[in-house]
Amino acid sequence: KEQVDMTGSVAMVLSGLKTDQAFNQYTYEGMLRAASEKGIKTAYKENVTDAEQVEVIRQLAQQGYEIIIGQGGQFGDSLATVAKEYPDTHFIFSVGKDTYGLPNMSAATVSYSEAGYLGGIMAAHSTKTGKVAMITGVFYANQAQMRDSFKKALHDVNPSIEFTAIETNDWSDTDKAYNATNALIAQGYDVLFPCLDAAGAGVAAATDDSKNKAVLVGSVADYAETYDCKSAMGSVTFNWEGLGYLEATGELTDGKSHVVGMAGNGISAIYNNLSSEGVAAVEKAKSDLSAGKINIPD
């Protein structure tokens, strides 16, 4: 058997496609940047189904990759299973927080709750009708956390703002997202807060088509730039690329759980059409958050 030098090698398993215009793609791109900058050997497997998780992770561990990143909340158990078998390999549970008490397993994610809070402040300062809605594919734990802090921010600005949330159950169906957005706009919701991967494009399109009946506060991606969304007031972007870079360069392999928020450049607020008053409020919220004055669960 030929001996391959595996020092400085990293592998990533993705729950979706590496072209999903969301966390799979950007984290993967972060890993690629690390690879080209630092000469790291990389491997990946996209679209890993539930049944093949352990098999794929184990195969990578066997091949000697030093760091194995599981990109997605569904990988936790499987990473832990293989981590127990390969104590010398580092495993990173990306988009998760649990390290399963294993020394060779770390967790890393961006702060969904901070993102939600900032988005909420933006939305609260954008609404005219006092009705704000969030659209997502499925409420996984992260989305739920984001929703809760978003709601809290709305309430902190104006307790009378009405909030609703809706699931399209498909992260790539742009048409369904478009129709779901229309449904919300028709019901008088004038600020939309999508957390929807590639299907978010549908929300952007629908808000643009609404003839100024509604505006959008983006999350994850910069909606104004990514989707050319004219009605974006601003976006809370997730620096998945940076996270992927950090994970790949081996800076997060300490066996701890990392939540990268504003401080670590994990999320940032981008302003497009937000009023100066709104911008000020967001900036204040940012400093309050870093000062720990606002109590949101992480």
Partner: protein, 308 residues
């Protein structure tokens, strides 16, 4: 307020069902000729990508839809060759076409990086803005994008073609008794090729419209989300009749639109149960309609070309 919500719901139901109707009209012809084109889900997906890509590069929706039609023709030929000439099992063939389509669109889309974040030009409403404000019909009908009207128009055309033209007669005959059709001097194989190509074109164009009438974006990972299977169900619910199938599609559109709207009400029903609604309604509709529909006699069977 509630009044507006209802109007909006009706509008959404129609808009949502437009691609389904177009796809279903083609499928009716295929199934009437005895062949289940199970690959429409995948073909629709290919059409969705083709529509967005061509519309982006050519800056013309007409060209985009034409390209979808050509793509449908090619895919239809493949399906027809397999199921008609090679007499493969129609269900496996369709399922594999779907698998192939998901893979192919993912691969192709990953190559088309330049257009990934660009919105293709989409269809506008057919009627002027002023007409949208007419009470009741304004928002429900006139505010519809142009494609909704096309879909309804196509349904009427389909009905006309199926019942009032020579070719429609041939199609109705071939699915019920291919041997008799052959002895009447018609080519069974040719007819089946024609209907399969037609249904594939319809599916592909429906896919194009799916993206071009709304978001103008394609997304990798199977963005048609099972619409092809819904169409297959709608055709059965509609008893292989264009008008009734159109209503079946609209029923499905209406329940899905309703389900999205019900999610915003603070109800104790978990969202997952609301999301089930369209599928449950379809099964109920299927049960209610079963007495009134008559399956084409050789539905799903390969044509042997010999005496029966």
């Amino acid at each position: 307020m509630t009044y507006e919500i209802i109007l909006d719901w009706l509008q959404a139901s129609l808009r949502w069902s437009a691609p389904l109707i177009i796809c279903a009209m083609g499928e009716i012809f295929a199934e009437r000729s005895g062949i289940i084109n199970m690959g429409i889900e995948g073909i629709m997906l290919c059409g969705a990508l083709c529509g967005v890509a061509v519309s982006y590069y050519a800056q013309s929706q007409a060209v985009a839809l034409f390209a979808c039609a050509i793509l449908g023709l090619v895919l239809g030929l493949i399906v027809a060759f397999l199921t008609v000439s090679r007499r493969t099992n129609q269900v496996v063939t369709g399922l594999m076409i779907n698998l192939l389509a998901i893979g192919a669109t993912n691969v192709i889309f990953s190559v088309l990086t330049v257009m990934r974040h660009k919105r293709a030009t989409t269809f506008g409403a057919l009627f002027p803005e002023s007409m949208h404000r007419i009470p009741l019909v304004g928002p429900v009908l006139f505010a519809q994008p142009f494609t909704t009207w096309i879909a309804i128009f196509i349904a009427f055309i389909a009905s006309f073609v199926l019942y009032k033209t020579r070719w429609g007669l041939n199609v109705r005959a071939v699915g019920d008794n291919p041997q008799a059709t052959a002895t009447a001097g018609l080519s069974v194989i040719k007819l089946k090729y024609q209907t399969l190509i037609l249904s594939s074109i319809a599916a592909s164009v429906a896919g194009g419209i799916l993206t071009l009438a709304s978001s103008g974006y394609f997304a990798a990972g199977g963005m048609t989300g099972g619409r092809g299977f819904i169409v297959l169900a709608a055709v059965v619910v509609g008893g292989w009749d264009p008008m009734r199938t159109m209503f079946a599609c609209m029923l499905f559109g209406a329940t899905d639109a309703a389900q999205l709207r019900l999610q915003t009400t603070e109800s104790i029903i978990p969202t997952q149960f609301l999301q089930m609604l369209p599928y449950v309604i379809t099964v109920v509709a299927l049960t209610i309609m079963v007495k009134r529909s008559r399956v084409p006699k050789t539905w799903g069977a390969a044509y042997d070309g010999r005496r029966s």
